[in-house]
Amino acid sequence: MKTIMLVDDNPTLVMLYSEVLRRNGYAVRTALSGKECLDILRESSPDLILLDIMMEPMDGWEVLTEIRSGNSTKTIPVMVLSAKYPQYDEISSHSPHIDGYVMKPVTHESLIRIVGDFFRFRDYLDTLVTRAEERGADEATIRESVALLRHWRMVEMFRSILGPDLGREVSMDPEQMERFNVLKKILAGHGITIDEAGLRIES
């Protein structure tokens, strides 16, 4: 059973989302502040953290920075669950470090689907890594491919949140795009095809 950690300063929402996640077969840990979240993380590692941004006194971005800088926590996937409409500068600075962005309010159905999509994506990456390792792709290539795939997925996610007009401003920079294509070719050489279309997410 996968464990999800919910971090939000609104107890009602924490209660309600916990209930929904449990009903859908996830184990849930909750924290009502950034500090509480970081304390818990010192003892256990969840499979996914759903992190609110607008919190006092430590906001979500600060918590994220802490998580990403801790040795035992830096690889834990973090998905932002926020009422805050994303800003361009936030997108560009945080998107490499997060694994999803969910706008509140969100229906339970959507929340469960987004969480499910995320785990399926993790599985896909795991399979990819295993297969690539089996077929003799070098470690650096694999690591870079995974990172770029995650980044690509985030860009796609933000574009879908901002809509066609504002979304145009968000994109992978040309160098990353080129590198991404090179890696895809390398992987293709190992018989691994990355099917982007199949990975596209709806928010």
Partner: protein, 679 residues
């Protein structure tokens, strides 16, 4: 020093006298030995120079007289001769006591040198010689006679030779007479033709037998003047020459029956006299066929007239179009020798011809409607034939012209005419037409008229272009003034920077205040921007690129203005930049507008940001409502959820507005940004 010069020929004496006098000698002339002896007795001389062949007493006899005289034999004696040139003559002369024996001709310097030497060293030798020769008088005369006989034989020989050469030259003359290209007639004292050469037969178109016995006044010559009037027989140069006894010349046309045409001849008649007679015994008339020359001269005159006409047209380029047209029509008449003419402009689709002016002749001789007259080219309009056929049309026999439709009443009577189209880029733009030249129109005429048409069109066209250019320039200046756009030009090699009037106005200075250097220009730039601007200019000039940059300038009164400079460099083939040109524009107003816009947008952005924070606070309760409603399937679940979604959509639009305004603000900052964010 006095010299006696003895020669029977005056020109020889003159030559010697002038040569000797110019060298400082006194000269006394004598024409033969007898006169020389008289002079010698009357005066004292330092030298005698004598010819040999002279009448009365020749040189040999003369020297003998001198050298046998005890006084005269002391005077040095020089023979100077052109006749006695043999070695024997020389030996004889020297044996008679001459100091020198000189053959003519001799270089003056050399002669003078000999004279000098002779005078200095003569006396003793002379006396010795004289003693020897004079002793034997018999011997002298023997030798003397042999020299004379020899000379006589030579003279006879010369005469003989000249007789032969006379015969030779006579036959030569006869040959020349027959073969020369000039016609030659010999007429006797009654003016009757006695002889004629081959060329005369050709030019006059008659064999000698037929003209033999005729006079110059014979009516069968049909002689005419250049203007076509009959040439009276008594005015004929041959007749005149016989009457007056003087050479006479004249030009006339004579009918050549074998060619059935007139030939133009230039006659030169020379009367011939027997020695001692005053009345000529006959006259030689030689004449050249000048028909071709006359034709060429006429062509040349016409040609230069044509050129003059064309040049004249160029001179009146500044006149109104109507004047040019009228002048061009006059020119068309002159250069084609026509009576009538007009020039018309063809409409763009080549369907209509508009005639703005006719030649004066047309105006006098027919009733034409008031100008301009429009013609349909497709209609029954003979002039339009050159446009329909798109080439020059020459009709020399109008009566037989099949396309003739008959002229409307009042039209001038046309015998023959010519019309040419004027092309511009393959389109017919005008046509020129002329009519009723005296002779038939030729393709040469068509060529000339086409040249005229082209010239007129070119002039009108150039005139229009020039006017259009002037207008455009004025518009450009006005546009520049309105746009506050000035020109800036920099001659790198000469370090000369020039600004247009508007450029100066932007800098707030008068032309005389500006020194025209880059440094002066720099001194007007805002100190805070100067380094950046200098770098821009320097880099641009060094690399040969183009730049657009904005900076501030300070006007003399201290007013600060914003300018935008677009700067372009011109490279030499080698790559060196020698010249730069560009525009300078006052963008202060735009800058201020931008600044206001920037401030407004900043304000809006800040407002929206405030709202966005509010949005987050609204979304939290909305999230709770959604979460609660969504947990259980209640009666109003879907209604509540869609209401929440609607509210969320509305506030999301505000979020997006903020994002949008932020985008605009950043865009302005990147593209126009001189300003940092201000409160």
């Amino acid at each position: 020093m006095k010299i006696l010069v003895v020669d029977d020929k005056s020109e020889n004496r003159y030559m010697l006298e002038s040569m000797l006098r110019s060298s400082g000698y006194d000269v006394v002339p004598a024409i033969n030995g007898v006169e020389a002896l008289e002079k010698l007795h009357a005066d004292t001389f330092d030298l005698i120079i004598s010819d040999i062949l002279m009448p009365r007493m020749d040189g040999f006899m003369f020297i003998r007289e001198c050298k046998t005289d005890p006084v005269l034999n002391k005077i040095p004696f020089i023979f100077y001769t052109a006749s006695y040139t043999s070695e024997k003559d020389r030996e004889f002369g020297m044996s008679l006591g001459a100091e020198q024996y000189i053959l003519k001709p001799i270089e003056p310097d050399e002669f003078l040198e000999i004279i000098k030497k002779t005078v200095l060293s003569a006396p003793s030798q002379a006396q010795a010689k004289v003693a020897r020769e004079v002793r034997d008088e018999e011997a002298f005369f023997e030798t003397y006679n042999s020299r004379l006989v020899h000379k006589l034989e030579e003279k006879i020989g010369e005469l003989q030779a000249s007789k032969y050469s006379l015969e030779e030259s006579e036959s030569e003359l006869r040959f020349l007479f027959d073969t020369m290209t000039e016609g030659v007639l010999f007429l006797d004292s009654d003016g009757i033709i006695i002889r004629a050469n081959k060329a005369a037969e050709d030019i006059l178109g008659l064999p000698f037998e037929q003209m033999q016995g005729r006079t110059s006044t014979d009516e069968r010559w049909h002689a005419v003047y250049e203007d076509g009037t009959p040439f009276p027989g008594e005015r004929h140069p041959a007749v005149q020459a016989l009457d007056s006894g003087r050479e006479t010349t004249g030009v006339m046309g004579v009918y050549n029956p074998s060619e059935d045409d007139y030939r133009w001849i230039d006659i030169h008649s020379v009367p011939q006299f027997h020695p001692g007679e005053t009345a000529p015994f006959g006259v030689y008339s030689r004449f050249r066929d000048v028909t071709l020359q006359k034709k060429i001269r006429k062509e040349r005159e016409l040609h230069s007239k044509r050129i003059e006409e064309l040049l004249e047209l160029h001179r009146i380029i500044d006149s109104p179009e109507q004047t040019i047209m009228v002048r061009a029509i006059d020119a068309s008449l002159v250069i084609t020798s026509s009576a009538y003419g007009f020039i018309g402009l063809v409409s763009d689709d080549e369907s209509k011809l508009v005639v703005h002016a006719w030649s004066e002749g047309v105006m006098k001789n027919c009733t034409v409607p008031s100008m301009p007259v429009h013609f349909n080219i497709s209609g029954p309009f003979v002039w339009g034939e050159c446009i329909r056929q798109r080439k020059a049309v020459i009709i020399n026999n109008f009566d037989d012209y099949p396309a003739k439709h008959g002229f409307p009443g009042g039209h001038v009577a046309i015998d023959h005419f010519m019309a040419v189209p004027v092309f511009d880029m393959g389109r017919i733009v005008a046509m020129c037409a002329v009519a009723n030249k005296e002779e038939p129109y030729t393709s040469d005429d068509a060529g000339t008229l086409t040249t005229l048409g082209n010239t007129v069109w070119e002039i009108m066209h150039r005139k229009q272009s020039a006017e259009a250019l002037r207008k455009r320039e004025a518009q450009l200046l006005e546009a520049q003034r309105l746009a506050r756009l000035g020109n800036i030009d920099y001659d790198v090699t000469g370090n000369y920077l020039s600004l247009s009037d508007e450029g100066l106005r932007i800098l707030g200075i008068q032309a005389e205040e500006f020194q025209g250097t880059l440094d002066d220009y720099y001194s007007r730039i805002h100190p805070d921007d100067l380094d950046q601007v200098k770098t821009m200019y320097t880099t641009c000039i060094e690399s040969g690129g183009r730049e657009i940059f904005e900076h501030r300038i300070l006007r003399p009164g201290g007013e600060e203005r914003y300018v935008q400079v677009r700067f372009r460099t011109v490279k030499e083939p080698g790559g060196t930049v020698t010249y730069c040109s560009g525009t300078i524009q006052d963008i202060t107003d735009r800058k201020l507008t931008e600044k206001q816009l920037e401030v407004s947008i900043l304000r809006i952005t800040q407002n929206l940001e405030q709202m966005a924070i509010l949005n987050d606070q609204i979304r939290n309760p909305l999230s709770v409502i959604t979460a609660i409603t969504d947990l259980e399937d209640g009666q109003y679940k879907q209604k509540i959820l869609s209401a929440v979604r609607e509210i969320n959509d509305l506030i999301t639009r505000l979020d997006q507005g903020w994002l949008e305004s932020d985008k605009v603000r950043k865009f302005l900052k990147t593209h126009y940004g001189f300003y940092e964010e201000s409160g």
